[in-house]
Symmetry: C2
Subunit: 342 residues, 2 copies
């Protein structure tokens, strides 16, 4: 990380901020006029030239203004960006928006994602609380007819999944008792992701009677516990990227990329820190070369367990995005934690 002169820093910061605001390459003249620097445009030109050669700025064409390179954004984010608190308006929007979802972890996450997409005008991704903590806490089977029952599964992080299932014979106390015994001894307390089909087979094989009744029930458990993980990752506000003129018609392939679960999951998961920022090609995926990804983790009961993310053009307003995300993920973690308290 080479050190830059004070003036170079000032110029770089101004270029980044002006470009983020306007979307137009910024020239030497425009820069001094709207940044109040007390030197002439020629001086700025010289400095810009050096910043250019050092790789912090680039010119779209020979005779246009400068725009930040990825290295420029990186330097800005790491060293120059002010770390303000979220502005009052956004804060109110978040508080008001998330309030109706209080008490329900899944709703909270969904609401947070929607808010984030609205506020940043970018795509937003949420992952549900997960981790070693996400263990199966309760499985209930409520008969609703002679041959049908609804099964409900709850994990320790408050994810609730339910579905109907049918069995061939009638429901009766014996069957329910048998089922609850199996649940008690094999499922409760286990991480929900670890219920593999193979394991279901094993358990089913150990059933002594009513095999053909238990099998569909066990399959339903497997399905439900799997789905607590499946839907961990949700993308919202993808349409926001379309209105952004930054991506011309590149928006469509990008959206297609984001709509695939696996690579998106990879992108989110590869972030280690509480707050991680990947700019352009730092993202490894070719499809994200013009985009930046900001991932902020939230913690439930003191454990890092889920995340909210923003995906947008490299030209996104990092400062406001990041301040909003810090506030929102902190709030989200606290609200989920309190929803789970007993």
């Amino acid at each position: 990380m080479p050190e830059l002169s004070e003036r170079k820093k000032q110029i770089l910061a101004n270029v980044v901020e002006m470009y983020i605001k306007s979307g137009e390459p910024v020239g030497s003249k425009g820069l001094i006029s709207s940044s109040g620097m007390n030197c002439s445009s020629a001086t700025v030109r010289n400095e810009m030239n050096e910043l250019d050669q050092m790789g912090y700025l680039v010119q779209p064409h020979t005779s246009a203004g400068r725009i930040p390179s990825e290295k420029g954004y990186r330097y800005y984010v790491d060293n120059l960006m002010p770390r303000r608190d979220v502005d009052e308006f956004t804060k109110r929007m978040i508080d008001a928006g998330i309030a109706p979802a209080a008490g329900d972890p899944e709703k909270l996450v969904n609401r947070a994602r929607e808010l984030l997409a609205d506020i940043t005008k970018c795509a937003a991704v949420s992952t549900a609380p997960v981790g070693e903590l996400n263990i199966i806490r309760k499985i209930e089977l409520v008969p609703v007819g002679m041959h049908t029952a609804m099964m409900v599964l709850l994990t320790s992080n408050g994810i609730l999944k339910s579905r109907l299932c049918r069995i061939e014979s009638d429901f009766n106390v014996t069957i329910l008792e048998q089922f609850y015994n199996i649940v008690e001894s094999f499922f409760i307390g286990k991480p929900s992701g670890e219920i593999s089909p193979a394991e279901i087979q094993t358990i089913a094989a150990s059933v002594e009677s009513n095999y053909f009744v238990m099998l569909p029930l066990l399959a339903a458990v497997s399905d439900l516990s799997g789905s607590t993980n499946d839907s961990k990752l949700i993308l919202g506000g993808g349409a926001n990227l379309l209105s952004r003129k930054d991506y011309g018609d590149k928006a469509i392939p990008l959206l297609e990329f984001l709509n695939k679960k696996e690579p998106l999951s990879e992108v989110i998961r590869s972030s280690k820190d509480d707050l991680s920022i990947r700019i352009g090609s730092e993202n490894l995926f070719k499809q994200l070369e013009d985009s930046s990804v900001v991932v902020s983790k939230y913690s439930v009961k003191g454990d890092n367990s889920g995340s909210i993310s923003v995906i947008g053009p490299t030209r996104m307003d990092y400062e406001s995005v990041i301040s909003s995300m810090r506030y929102l993920s902190d709030l989200l973690g606290r609200l989920i934690t309190s929803a789970l308290e007993e």
Copy 2:
């Protein structure tokens, strides 16, 4: 409905089909070459001219080929379009795609919608089974901690909704009994849409003891029963419209329109027939003037109760869209019906 000569019908049908395939205006020469008509281009030109004046065809500009007008599309779907069965490939895709969701009404609807969007490359909308039939069948409250319980609500059409709720005092048998009494006397058997906040107030007021415990529980019931209706309408595959070059940058306002629940619901609901097709400005909403909407109802237990719809450019492939929808909605109705059988 004026009668057209055989040859005019043939020409109109060919123009529609060629335009649907290519997206380019079709000229007299191209038409005879790829339709095998045994007359000259000049003859076709004369006929086209008449079709033009009758309002079935339009020219984008004076010296381009013809494209169908709305009236042209309308005549085509009413009188000229072949009514083929769904093709084998699509059929397999549907069968294979929907199989994993069998047994769960909500999943079935979601899966059907996703399949429809994939197959047609258009936006797809689903509405869950609803109607007088959609009554509350069961409400369960399962304690999961001292102060929290999960509440699960099931309607007669198989919609299952759940959420966590907290109360201030401890759960005990008395409270559960009281709650189930209220449920039994006020909720079971009622249409889920008819639980208004006002009604909740009235019921709460009639509670003799434990008022502050019952209130949040009743609120949760209201929330859940409301949400069985809220999420009736789901849009999927909106991104498909973007890849369609038909809408240039008109795709964005269209998507914004489709993302609003109320007008979209209006659009879907205004269809009476089992299968309804609205072309362009037949849709009343200005935002849909370049789009067609096809709505196909599916029936559960013999009653018309939900629908799947396709929204795409007026230039959509009506024949294949409609054959797929007929097959899919029939299948969907049957699968949901059998999932609900006991």
